[in-house]
Subunit: 371 residues, 2 copies
């Protein structure tokens, strides 16, 4: 194993709750704090462990909400205080990643940052390493670089990145320019993309020089950029930080980095992509959680939960158990059962997307205490 990459800093935005995984994911137990693979480790911890060989333990920053600080520090005992970037309240991904970029850029002007979601599942870390190494090499050339996942099936659940001309970059033989981003397609189109091989899944991973990223924000969202610079300037001074945060934070525009950075950069020929050949999943809902844990066997009942006590007969799908209750599952197919202390969900893979609607209904009906 080679050592960490000298000029590289990893950034983990750990923000989203993952409402479509309710009642497993909650405001006080967001998706990234769960073990969704049966590994015994949370997704956040897995993300850290994946990045540590690439960045080194002192060069991984986590951007998270104040409410999750304690949980994050418990999961990542090795994290340095200066690497915990706390958000007063969620302001979407451009603010989260842009703030980290601004802070790190002041500390270390030439730094290359790579941002990786805290709640995705990746297998075969060697292939992940290879992609990141290529992306860093590409970023050194001044590109903003994303890693797009080489599809393993014609999925309608992800957005796509169309790659075009190959770039000639030392250490990045697979680097190519991004032609455009495409929203989630219908199945017919997804099949075409899959056959084409130039369409990659958008996994929301961005690697670039911090100053290049900030330059792109400055061009496209000048006000947001100004706010981030004000925050960064005060950040490392404990006395100064508070008042600036109070003043600036509420004014930060909520915009996803895809819109504020990636798409405009692509249009200007500044966005590169490295194809990722590793297994990747954003585990966006219980259907993908079930699939992720089924190990390809359609007729099995996957079980998540270290204390699970499940008895099944002619059942398939997934049971997520967070209690000590005996769970009997008989004669149901593609079922999704999520058993927690104060809430129970029963649905099917086919209807997994509707969970968000239930969460909304719970909010509206005054039962938000279980969210």
């Amino acid at each position: 194993m080679p050592g960490p990459i000298d000029d590289f800093y990893a950034v983990i935005p750990a923000g989203g709750i993952g409402s479509r995984l309710w009642p497993l994911s909650r405001a006080d137990a967001p998706k990234f704090l769960h073990d969704l693979t049966g590994s015994g480790r949370t997704l956040l911890r897995d993300t850290w462990d994946r990045l540590e060989p690439l960045a080194g333990p002192d060069r991984i920053a986590v951007v998270t909400g104040r409410a999750h600080r304690a949980a994050v520090e418990r999961e990542l005992p090795g994290i340095a205080d200066k690497n915990v970037v706390l958000e007063s309240e969620p302001r979407d991904s451009t603010a989260a990643i842009g703030l980290a970029a601004a802070i790190l850029s002041r500390r270390e002007p030439d730094v290359i940052i790579g941002s990786f979601a805290a709640d995705h599942v990746i297998r075969v870390p060697q292939l992940f390493d290879w992609a990141v190494n290529q992306a860093v090499a590409t970023a050194r050339e001044g590109y903003i670089c994303t890693i797009g996942i080489q599809p393993s099936e014609p999925s309608v659940g992800f957005g796509y990145i169309r790659k075009t001309d190959a770039l000639s970059i030392d250490g990045a033989p697979e680097a190519a320019l991004v032609g455009s981003f495409v929203e989630k397609p219908d199945l017919e189109t997804a099949k075409e993309y899959f056959a084409d091989r130039n369409y990659l899944w958008n996994a929301g991973m961005f690697i670039s020089r911090a100053d290049v990223l900030l330059g792109e924000i400055a061009e496209n969202e000048p006000q947001l950029y100004a706010g981030l610079m004000d925050l960064a300037e005060a950040w490392d001074d404990r006395e100064e930080r508070g008042p600036v945060v109070d003043r600036v934070w509420p004014s930060l525009k909520k915009i996803a980095i895809d819109y504020a950075v990636a798409e405009p950069a692509a249009a200007k020929g500044r966005l590169a992509v490295i194809p990722g050949h590793f297994d990747w999943d954003d585990v966006g809902d219980f259907a993908s959680l079930a699939k992720l844990n089924s190990h390809g066997r359609k007729n099995d009942l996957a079980i998540l939960g270290e204390n699970a006590r499940v008895l099944s007969d002619a059942a398939s799908g997934i049971v997520v158990s967070q209690t000590r209750r005996v769970i009997s599952v008989i004669g149901v197919r593609d079922i999704v059962i999520v058993d927690t202390e104060d809430a129970l969900l029963v649905t099917t893979s086919e209807h997994a997307q509707r969970v968000k609607g239930v969460v909304d209904a719970l909010k509206l009906s005054g039962r938000g205490e279980v969210l």
Copy 2:
């Protein structure tokens, strides 16, 4: 309303756990102690309330296990001490009903007893009264009389009673002889029975003079009869009862009253039947519980449990909630969800019969504490 029937004594065998309704029914919370109709009353209490106008509050005996004594007395605060007949251990229905018959016959030689399960659901009590009144009139003529339910559909879930020649009995215009008993039929046969109208569902209700019932047991099961007489002789003497119970109880043959009394009596032309026109269900499994609570609407999700907090979307079937948990049910059809403190069941109406297998598996796998 006429008053109670002078020479009539009701007997309620309250024995079975109702394993196919696990995890609702348990060893310490058998089926008869549950409210399965949303009435707010247990099945046992409903049975008592149905019989009280017919027998009077002092003439209803309950035969139950020692473990259920306290619960039975709590449910039936009006029950007299002498009317609680405690079984040392379950010995099937002939022993339970025969013992009650033997005890009551000693106290009151001409008494007519009627035995009615503690855990069936009956609607339209006026029609029930009318059937019992006819059955008592028939029993006074020396017949053992059963009440067979006029089928409301071609059910494959019940055994049938074929009625033959009409009897001419004052006060029992519908009385007829029983030709034979038929086991649960296949659907084709059930359709023939339904069209025929002479086939009635066997609801296990028996009305006869106590001495006639005992005579039938004496003829068919002389050893069991002798044991029951020994018990009855000692029963009302507190000092004597204990040693006799200890000696005799373990020797009592386990046999259902259908085999020890009803079928032999039918063969000898001594069994009469009154057709019951009331709604009746033995609520044998969750499929029938779902149906019972669906009020005929196939697309509704029925909900049982006074504190149930259920949120559903495009779901049908039944949710039984014994906890305060929020239960979300999305996009599942004919589902059966039973949510209790220490056990959860998820199945479908179609597979409701397999619950018993799970109960057996739990026993074998050493998780009997949830049974």
